[in-house]
Structures are given as C-alpha cells and as structure tokens.
Assembly symmetry: C3
Homo-oligomer: 382 residues x 3
C-alpha cells in the first residue's frame, strides 16, 4: 500500500524499505472576533522520510524523521523483535516510538478521517510529547481480535543528559467483541502514569481547536507550576458496518502539583463522536491486529479509469479544562465536516470545514469566540 | 546523467531515485583595504540529498534537503502532475519549489558556468527567498522552443503559522526564435509581485560580490522599514554556437514602503554579460524545454582514457542600489574568469578568479574597495 | 558485514549503499557525593543514516549524518579517490572526514570494546572537534602491515564564513612488526598541530569520566583565554593473540596562549590500558590495513541456533590536566568492566560498569569524588 521500494536480500530474510509522506495544507479562518485569528496560509504539515527493514526473520528496525518545519524532528527510531508471549504473537520495541494512546492517536496520520486528530488525543498526552524513548511490548490475540501494549519510557529523544528524566508508563488495549467480514465492533481503553521530573517547572496543554495551521485558535489550559505527576485514561468505542463507520472517544487527565508548591491539581477531560460514510461503497479500513483505522481499498481507482473513493465524515468534539479563581477555566468545542477523496491507495485529497467555539476565561483571546476554518490537504505516500 | 540508482516497479510505472550532490569549496581573498575581507577557508557549499520518483505515469514527487551548514535546509518538496494544457504538455507542482527566475537562477547549481550565480538572480529575489510554498504550473511548447511558468506561493516552508504570510506571484517564459542542431538563440523574461506581510518589518538585500564563502565582501542595500510590496522583472538573452556560448541578463526591483511608515521606496537594478568556450569542442548543454543551461556531453571522458572537457568562461556584472540622504546608495561590479574541468558527466572541478569592486556609502566596509578572490570547487553528483 | 542494501550498476562500476546505525543506551550513576551526579536515564547515543558509493572504479563518495540529538549533525561527507602512491595503494579524501587519531578513536563506534572511547581520544582532540573539512591522504603498505595518513583541514563543516578558520595538520601511522594468522602486534603513533584562529577566545576540554549519558561527571580542564596554537601526540601499543587482546595508549597535548594575552600554556596527558577476552573463542577483529579494531566474526550466531559471541573486557584510564594558582588542576581516573554480547555480525548488546574518580580543584563538583555508573547499549547496524 505504500509506494516506496522494498529491497530484499537473496535469502529473503533481510530487507530495507524507503518510505515518505508529503502532506501539503492550505487553511483559511474567518468569523472570529479577533483579527489575528482570521488568518490563512499554506503549510507543509508533514514531510516525512524514513527507512525501515528486517535484519533477520525476527529483528527489524525503523528510522524516520520529519522535515516539515525546515528542521529535523525525529519520529520512530527503534529496534524491534518479534517473539512468542505464551502462545501469542508479540513484539518488543527498544528506542523512540510513537504512543499507543487513543484510537485516533494510534492511527497513522495518513489514515485518520480528519486532517487533525481529535481533542482526546491532542490534549491528553504526557509532558514528554507523543514520542517516548524506552521499551514497549505489544501482544496480539491469536484470533486477531485484541491486542494490548505496555510502554515504559524515560524522557524523549535528544533530551538533556545532565539530569534524570520523567518516566512514563503507558498501556492500551482493544477488543473486537464482534466481527463479520470487514464489519466489526471495537472496544478500547488506554491509560498512562508519569512521574514528572522536577526540572519541568510548568505543565500546560493549550490545544488547537481549528486546524493544524492556525496557532491562535486554541483552548487554553491552566498552567500548573512544579508538576509532580500526571494520570490519564480513556475509552474507545467504534464500529464499521459496510460503507458506514462511527467512533466515540472519551478521556480524562489529572496533573498533580508538588506539595512544596501547594499540592494543587488540574483536571480536564475531552470527548469526540464521529461518523463516516463512503459514497462509493468502500469499507473503512481497520486493523484488527492493532485496533486502528487504515486506508480503504479503493474499488475503482483513477488509474483504472474510475473516480476513486469518496468519503463523507463528520465529528463533534469538546474539551474542558478546569480552573481556579487565579486562572479561570477554558473550554471549547468544534464541529467538523470532511470530504475525503482517495484517487488510489497512495494519495488523498481532504477538505475540512470546522466550526469552532472557544471560551478562554484568561490568557490570550479571552471570552467567548467562534469562527469557521476551511482547510484542504494534498497527501501522497511513497 | 546522475549517478544515483533508480528503482522501477515491475509494471514500470512506479520509480524512486536517490540523488545527491557534494560541492566542496576553498576560497581566498586578498587586496581589500579591510583586513577582515582578506580571508580564506574551506566550505561545503552544498551537501544535498534527496529522493524523487513517480507514483504513477503522471504523478511524481520530490523531497530534497541540504546539509552543508551542518543543519537541515529544505529544498524542493513537492507533488507533481503531468497533464495536457490544451494541446501542450504541462506540469503542475504543489508544495515547496525552487523559483523559475532569471536564466542563471533557474539553471541547477550543478550546471551554472560560475561557482556562484550572478547579481541579477542573487539580488533581485523576493523576501521569502528562492523557495516558495504553493502551486506552480509550467506549460511547454510542442516544438520544445518555449515554456512559460506561473507560481503562486504563500510564504516559505517552516514559516510561522500564527499569522497570514506574504503572497508572491511569479512568472517566467523563454522562447527560442532560432535553433539549429544544438545551436540556438534564447530570449527570456520574468517578473514577480509580492504582497509583503506586515510582520516583515524590514527589507534588505545585501549581496555577496566575491564568492559563496566570503560573507564580508558584500554590496549593501539600503534597508527599508515596513515594506508593503515589491515588484521585479528581468530579461534574458543567450546564444550557443558550437563550443561558444554567451548570455546577458538585466533585472530591476522596487520595494514599496507602507504609507504609514512614510511611503518611501527602494529601486535597484543589476546586469551581467558572460561568455564561455569549450577548449575541447563540446557544446554548452541547454534545455530547450525549460530554457536553462545543462552540463555538456563530455566527448572524451577520463574513464575512456581521455582528458575530459575544458571550458573557459568570463563574466562581467554590476549591481546598483539606490539611496537617500539617510542611507546613501551602494554599488559594485565584478569580473570573473573561470576554468571548468569536466572529467565526466558526474563531476566537475571549477576555478574562479574574481576581481570585485564595492562602493558602499554607509554601513560596514564604507567607501571604495576592491580585491581579488580565488576560489575552487570540487563537485560530484550521484 | 552491514545490513544495508548495495546497488550495483550493470557495468559493475557504479554502486550506492544505504547504511545506518542505532545505538540505544540506558545509564544509571550512584555513589557520588553530589546528588546531581547520581542520575539515570535513556539516550539514543547514535542514530546515523548515510549513503555511500562508487561513481567509477576509483572515485567514491560518502554522506552521513547523526540524528540522535533530535537534530542534524553531519559526519563524513567526502569525495574519495583511490590511486597509486609510488607502488603503494593510496586514497585521497576531499571534504569532511573523521579524524585518524588514536587507535581507539580511529576505530568505528560500532567496534570499540567499550561504550565510550577512552580519555586519550576524548580529551586530546583539536579545538575544531573530531571532524575536519579539508583533504586527507592515506597510504597503505603492500603487505598490509602499515599505513600512514596526513590530513590538512580548515575549520569544520558549517563553520562561520566571515573569517578565516583554524588550520589543523594531523597524522597517524601504524605498523605491525609481527603477524601470524589473525594474531598480531600493533605499534602506532599520531600527532597534530593546529593554528587556532583568534576568534576562538577560549579553549577548554572538560571530559566525561563516567559514560556518554552523564554530563555532570566530568574531569574539568583549566580554560585558557586566547589560545594561539596547540600540539598533541600519542602512542599506541596493541596485541591480539587468539581470543585475547590488549591495548595501551598514551597521549599528551599542549595549548599555547597568545603572547598578547600572557603567553601562558596548558599541558595535560592521558593514558589507558585495556584487555579483552572472547569467552566463545573468537578473535578480536582487526584491520591490518588501517590499524583499527573491527567486529569479531561470530562463530556460532543466534540465527544458526547458537549463542553468539561473548567478550569480557576491562580498561583502566587516567587523565591529568595541569593547573595554575588561579585555576588549579583537575584529574581523574576510571576502571571499566564490560561484557559484550554479539548475537551476529550486525548487532551487539553491551554492559559497562564504570568506577570513576574525579578530583577537580575548581569549578563545578570541586573536590574528590567517586561513583559507580552502570550502562547498557543495544546496537544495530544496517
């Protein structure tokens, strides 16, 4: 399904793949009370390049980076090993690896239904970001109807090495209680606990509410000084029935302040519901192995003289940060309508219309505000 | 003509190429009145690495970056589509793409006759630099004797996304009124208009007059506060006759200040004339399709026991920034004599002797100055 | 011996290889008097990616970079040419190239016996770092029992180009007075002289004494203002006898201050002795051509149902910076015990236990201190 070449050694055990993705966005926002939120422009959302491969039947590796900011940002960089955990297939990863956290988040950015992942994933992450350096194990059900993962990470790639780092424990599991052909019901849950190192003197999780371009349309969280630890959990519910699919997620996070700084805490939660329908009859691609969305198999690709696949999708989501008298709460919600065109299995054109509402009680862009963002993306995977 | 491998899928429609270029320079300057201009050293002028390919018969992509500063700098990063525009071949590019601006500028740095491009290209660019993020269309004449391009770009890759960005409209065309075998006459013209975003609070275009190493030998432009827009245009004239070729370029740019800042403007122009001769009889490579210089086809490469190709080239160029009583004008000119050795079609050794004159009426290195720069480059393309 | 694919053109003269290395470390330190030295964590020590190849029978190139800091750091980036120097094989390199300095330093980080190179290499480098931009020649003995190299470099890749740069002359030679099968005795010597540019206003060479992670366990050198030049030399002695091998290195460096700043100078020296033994009977890999350590040929690799190779190694090393009454001296020493497991020829797991002593008479972490560091590495080469 990707266009990069794969090189395989004579004995078939060694391989190397070259992969990349280009996501080129244009965005325009209007209707806000604030001029500086009514902005537009273009952006390379992702320019990823990477190599991955197998060094033997069981040992693999991956090294991938993003260049979209005109600078390097490492993505996955790990060594993996397939093995048997009891009777189950399992994989162990050592290195830098993307989180298995929320269904929307665990889904590749090539395959999410909307241009940007939802609030549950974006707002409920650990302080180290969405990549952690450490080890992760994944166990897969024989029947390919469940998986569970556990990661223990210590800081991030390129972090300081003049101090110890924050440690994060993260887990996610999914189960398909019912499947029939490509139809299915998905249940999932995830959680993490992190011990935040004392060198992290403030935690805040301002979250973009419009799209990936507009940095000014954010729902602002209350900053918390001297955070000590944080806990989060969430639930996933999804189904795919022929060309129709729907998903709902809920998550909650708390951040505890050090006693020495007051012992305060922040709590906030987010949820989303979304539905999609393929006008051209395709199923929503889904991996039963890992419990994530995949690309559809295009029935009538442009290369065969067809029109490709068209998908309509809509999402409602809300995020609610708590507050105190010092720094009152912020909340917001957004409704997205999306039209996705898949000319074939390696390209996608996306149109997202987002009506967003933010209500920040302090900080920038205070007060009730709402607006409309129209965004489009050209995505090519090689 | 490049040494990178090309991988082609079984059906012949998908391909991926790996490409790179190394340009390793040494430079020494003497004769200036200012000690800090009489410097020398080595530099990796370009260390480019990239992948490009076709995903189908008509859809291609490219992703390329430069590492010579010991940091990443993105070059081309686009998706392209070949199509028919009326009866003409055409290509549409979406993403980050190098300017089609001046004949010298549109020519690859692998193929320019001198180590550095001329003043017309270097001094007359838009505020966003030589790469823009947006869309570009190119239409090619059936007879391959003309092309025209139009690009609309919005800022640059990795630019800020908390504001709208400068928009640039750029076009270039060329026409070959006469061709005979590899001989030809080339006429060309280009222009751009840019709406400069108010966050760009100053425009200046100090231009290196010696070579790519020496940062101190510059012709200084008058800085203009709060620029609002800029316009530029230029003309190209070139011919190739057997082993002889010549080219001339002229260009002019104006920058308008916002009325609120005074409504002033800056104007400046530059020109160059250059001639080249292959001592070993080769023609100057030229693309009739795009109106740019290419590498020669070496008649007697070193690998076949020959001496490769030798080219003598010379260029005179001048640049003249206007001034005001506050910040008086700066101007300068330079004469370059170059000897290029092409052992084969993937390598080149260049020697450039530059006698330069700068006359900055304000800022650093004020007053009349002149000096001599000797520079050499080893270039390998894979 | 590496897992990256190699592409060879139809005529067999052109090739391109893709290579990478992942070194993933975990580290923990305890026992220091200073809390901030008793830290632990994980780190990607190296994430290298590169391409190299031949453009003809004699002309090659290499371009390699490291991504472990979540940023780019260029490594080798050069064009090379094989030729005959009298009757001897020789290679000329133009570009950015890693130093041929100390036996431990010239050995690839994939092949060193311990996770970090020794004090002789780490503390006795030139001001420009371990990579220089310039030219290097290597001549190899016909009998493959000696080599000698000479490099002249001018600054580093990405250095400033508004001034001249430091010039460094560096040489290294080795000789095998006795060889028998894979057994050998190695004698080596190296030295360098550098003219430090006046823009380098201070020279200091604080050296990590525990491992590559812990930035706080350092032996501090006296900073010297306005350094003018520096000289260094060192000697190497090594032997490999069946599964046993041993090596010793000594080196000394002096830095001269400009007369205008006082004409002071700094002197310091370092030495190391190390021994290794393959419990599984392998020889220590060694290149007679270049006088460096290589990986062992694993007798019974895991892929063939075996246990791989196991190596025990130990090293004692000491470093001694001189001082003055203003900034008193610093010294330290460390003992390392290492266990290396080589499952096959492209992977390695390392365990290093280091007991270190530092005695800095000024600056951070003043006074006698000692502690224990336990570190482990997973290394995969593709």
């Amino acid at each position: 399904s990707d266009g990069g070449p794969k090189f395989i050694s004579a004995n078939g055990k060694r391989s190397l793949e070259i992969n990349g993705r280009l996501q080129l966005d244009a965005s325009n926002t209007s209707g806000s009370r604030f001029d500086s939120r009514n902005i537009g422009g273009t952006q390379a959302r992702r320019l990823q390049f990477g190599v991955s491969g197998q060094l033997s039947e069981r040992i693999g590796y991956k090294m991938e980076y993003d260049l979209s900011s005109n600078d390097i940002s490492m993505r996955d960089a790990y060594v993996s090993s397939d093995f048997k955990f009891g009777e189950h297939d399992a994989t162990l990863y050592v290195g830098n690896k993307y989180d298995d956290r929320t269904m929307d988040g665990a889904t590749s950015s090539n395959n999410t239904w909307f241009m940007e992942r939802g609030f549950v994933n974006e707002a409920l992450g650990p302080e180290r970001g969405s990549y952690g350096l450490g080890i992760k194990g994944k166990v897969f059900g024989d029947s390919r109807t469940w998986h569970t993962s556990l990661a223990i990470t210590n800081g991030r790639l390129g972090g300081d090495t003049d101090r110890s780092d924050s440690t994060t424990y993260m887990t996610r599991s999914h189960w398909n209680p019912w499947t029939s052909g490509s139809d299915m019901v998905h249940l999932g849950a995830w959680g993490f606990h992190e011990n935040i190192h004392e060198s992290d003197t403030s935690a805040t999780q301002n979250t973009r509410a419009a799209d990936g371009f507009n940095d000014n349309v954010t729902i602002n969280s209350r900053p918390i000084r001297d955070p000590e630890s944080s806990n989060a959990y969430g639930f996933e519910l999804a189904t795919s029935l022929g060309p129709f699919a729907a998903a709902a997620e809920y998550g909650k996070r708390s951040i505890q302040q050090r006693d020495s700084a007051g012992g305060d805490d922040v709590r906030y939660d987010a949820y989303s519901v979304q539905a999609g329908y393929f006008l051209t009859g395709e199923n929503h691609g889904y991996s039963r192995k890992s419990g994530v969305w995949r690309l559809p198999e295009v029935k009538d690709p442009v290369s065969a003289g067809g029109w490709g696949a068209f998908e309509l999708a809509t999402r409602y989501q809300a995020l609610d940060f708590d507050g105190t008298s010092d720094y009152p709460r912020g909340d917001g919600h957004s409704t997205t309508v999306g039209l996705n065109w898949y000319p074939n299995d390696w390209s996608r054109v996306m149109f997202n219309y987002i009506h967003w509402n933010t209500h920040n009680r302090s900080g920038d862009y205070e007060g009730k505000d709402d607006g409309d963002t129209l965004a489009t993306r050209l995505q090519v995977v090689f």
